[in-house]
Structures are given as C-alpha cells and as structure tokens.
Amino acid sequence: MIDLGIVEENLPAFAEGLRITLILLVISCAAGFVLSVPLAMARASRRPWVWGPVWLFTYVIRGTPLLVQLFILYYGLAQFPWIRESAAWTLLRSPWFCAWAAFTLNTTAYTTEIFAGAIRAAPAGEIEAARAMGMGEWAMFWRIFWPGAWRRALPQYGNEVVMMMHATALASTVTIVELLRVARDVYTNYLVVAESFGTVALFYMALTFLLTRLFKALERRYLRHLDPRASQGEPRVA
C-alpha cells in the first residue's frame, strides 16, 4: 500500500522542507511580535488619530486573503518601473523577502488586535493604583499594562502562532521549497498521495502538537496564579 521506500528516499528533502518552514515561521512571528506591541499600544489609545490608522491597517489586512497579499507583493510590485529600477528591487524581487513581508504583515495585524484587546481589558483598579503611585505613561505600560496583557493574550496568541505555521504552506505558491512544496514535488515525481502529502501531514501534525505543548508550558509559567492546583499546599497568608 504505502511505499516507505519513496518516503525514505526523499527524507532529506522533507527534512530540508521542514527547516525552511520553521525558518519562515520564526522570522515572521519574531518580526510580527516586535511590531505588534507598539501597534497594540497605539490601537488601544483613546485618541482617534492614534488608533485610527492602526485600525485601518488591521482591518484591511484581516479582511483580505493572505494569498492575495502575497501575490500583490511578489507578482504585483513588478508592474511599476520605478520600483524595478529602485535599489530596493534586489530585495523586492526575492520570493523570500515577499513571503516574509506578507506573513509578517498578516500576523502583525492579527497579533495587534489580540494584544490590543488584552490591553483594553486591564482592570481599572490597577491603572488607578499605578496613577496613585505617580507612575508615568511609559512605566505604567511596561509595569502594569503589558505584563497583564501578555498573560491575558497568551492562549489566543498561541492559536495565532499555530495558524501562522499553517499559513507558511502558502510560500509554496511563490517558488519557496518548504514542506508543502516538497510534498507537491514528490507527488509530481511518483504520483502517490499518501507518501507525499501524507508524510508532510505528519510533519505538520507534529509541529502543531509541539507548538501547542510549548504554549501550554508558557501558560503554566505565566498563568500559574490562575491554576488552582498549582497553589495547593502553599502556605496561605491571612
């Protein structure tokens, strides 16, 4: 039924595909995280000219398919001669740069909304207390808003990272040889489904499982105060 010989023969290709998928995931999520924190800060602001542009950005990105965003960057930009003649063209013509840019824009939009929601949910009492202590805006954000928001956002952020991992499969449409592209190549060479798509399905499942475990561990670390079992047996004050 399933020809393990084909799987074995292509194992180095699958491993390389896995490496590319992981690199895409890490560089996109890292850039997305770094951009999302300040954007979420702006998104949660009360001033319309601060939150307005961020809202527009997340609305447009979240309202259009990632595939279309990727095509606009990779195929679309070549339409303009001034872009093709600019110094940035060496970067913009590369499928790697376009995939990274599209994935980063995408995950930034979703993560910004997740973080902004968590920031807005900060208990009023905490903010009042911080004000009463005489904290400035900056100190208040990093000591009060962010630590709480990060904890509230963690479960949803974990989902977003898993979604992003699945989204890296779209890089196969712009010539990047990640896991799914390897599967499609193996399929084209041998015309077998289980050995090609089935094998990468196992890879994706293992990755999903590992990411879920990683975020469960992070939740245990950061949300320990919410776990009734973790506090059992510890001395109670008052």
Partner: protein, 229 residues
Amino acid sequence: MFHGYLPMILAGLGVTLGVSATSLAIASVFGLAGAIAKLSDNAVLRAIANAYTTVIRALPDLLLMLIVFYGGQILINRIADARGWGYIDIDPFLAGTLTLGFIFGAYLTETFRGAILAVPRGQIEAAEACGMARGTVVARILLPQMIRHAIPGFTNNWLVMLKATALVSIIGLDDMVHRAGLAAAATREPFTFYAVIGAIYLAVTTVSIIVLRGVEARFSRGVRRAEAA
C-alpha cells in the same frame, strides 16, 4: 482602466461567493453532526468527533485541499478502473467545496458545541416535562436559543472561510483569484488586478460583518445587556 476585464473579474466573484456559500452549508452540516457526536453518550461517536476536530485543525487548509483533490482523483479512478467506467475527472468545484466544508466543519463543531451547552439544561427538562417530542424540543427550544450563541463564532468562521476560498484557485477553480491572475498576465498589470480583488474581498467582508451584526441583534431581542460601566 481595467482594460475591460472588470466584468470577468466580477463574474469570478460569483464563483467565489458560490464556493463560499456551498462550503458554509456543507460545513454547517459537518459542524452540527460533530457537535451532536461530541455531546452524545456514545463513546465511539465522541472519539470519532474528537479525532476529526483534532486532525483537521492541526493541518494547513491548502494541504487538506490537495489531499482531497489528488487523493480523491486517484481513489475515484481506481474504483472506475475496477468497474470499467473509464477515466473520471474530479470536479474542482466539488473537491474545493467538499474540502472547505469538511475543514470548517471541524471549527464549527466547536462553535455549535459551545452554543448547545449555553442553552440552560432546565429549559430542555421543562420542555420534556411538557411532553414535547425530541424533535420539537430541538426545533422550538434548542435551535432558536443556540443560534444566538453560535452567531459570533459563525461570523468568524464565515469570514475566515471567505478568505480561504482564495486557495481553490490553486486546484484549478476559475474563481476571482484565478481570473485576476489571467487578467494580470494578459495586461502585465498584476498589481492592479490583485489590488482590485483585494478590495472586493474587503467589501464582501464589510457587508458580511454588517449583515451578521443585524442577525445577531435580531436573535438577541429579549436579552438584556449589562450596562457598560
């Protein structure tokens, strides 16, 4: 401005919306069946439903679509060979909608399960005490009230699915993305056409949000909202 390609692209919107609506109908069936299986007393049904939602949600949409498209093709032709029917081409519309329906059914299973659980148990008991038949309980008590709880999750899934339909262009369906690609190749203006369909997707998303907000308001009549502090 669009070299006369706009009508063709708009006709592609019809295909995109057709795929979305059909997939949503299929997903709702899978979702309801999954939710009922997850809440049933039968351990085998529960295990199947759990395996379904776990596996589907662990894989990329595009991978599942290719598995159904190529795998289904091979499977059907193997059957056809054995019976001597000759070569059968799998219809990309069927493959696309079935796959999307199957995938989003897994997500809707969770939405519907939560919505069913949100209907107070006492109401069902009361209906049974009044002598209502099982079907009547579902139609008069469970469904009208679970819809309200299901709408936010349903809206989300619809919006995600609408965007996921862009992937059917990869398995050869003649949707909006595919047509934009054709127009882009013919006119050498890829940015224009991909930006146009991006704008169309955004418009459909916006209209969907407005309509579903109205539906939610309608099903939430009679529910008092907490006053905002």
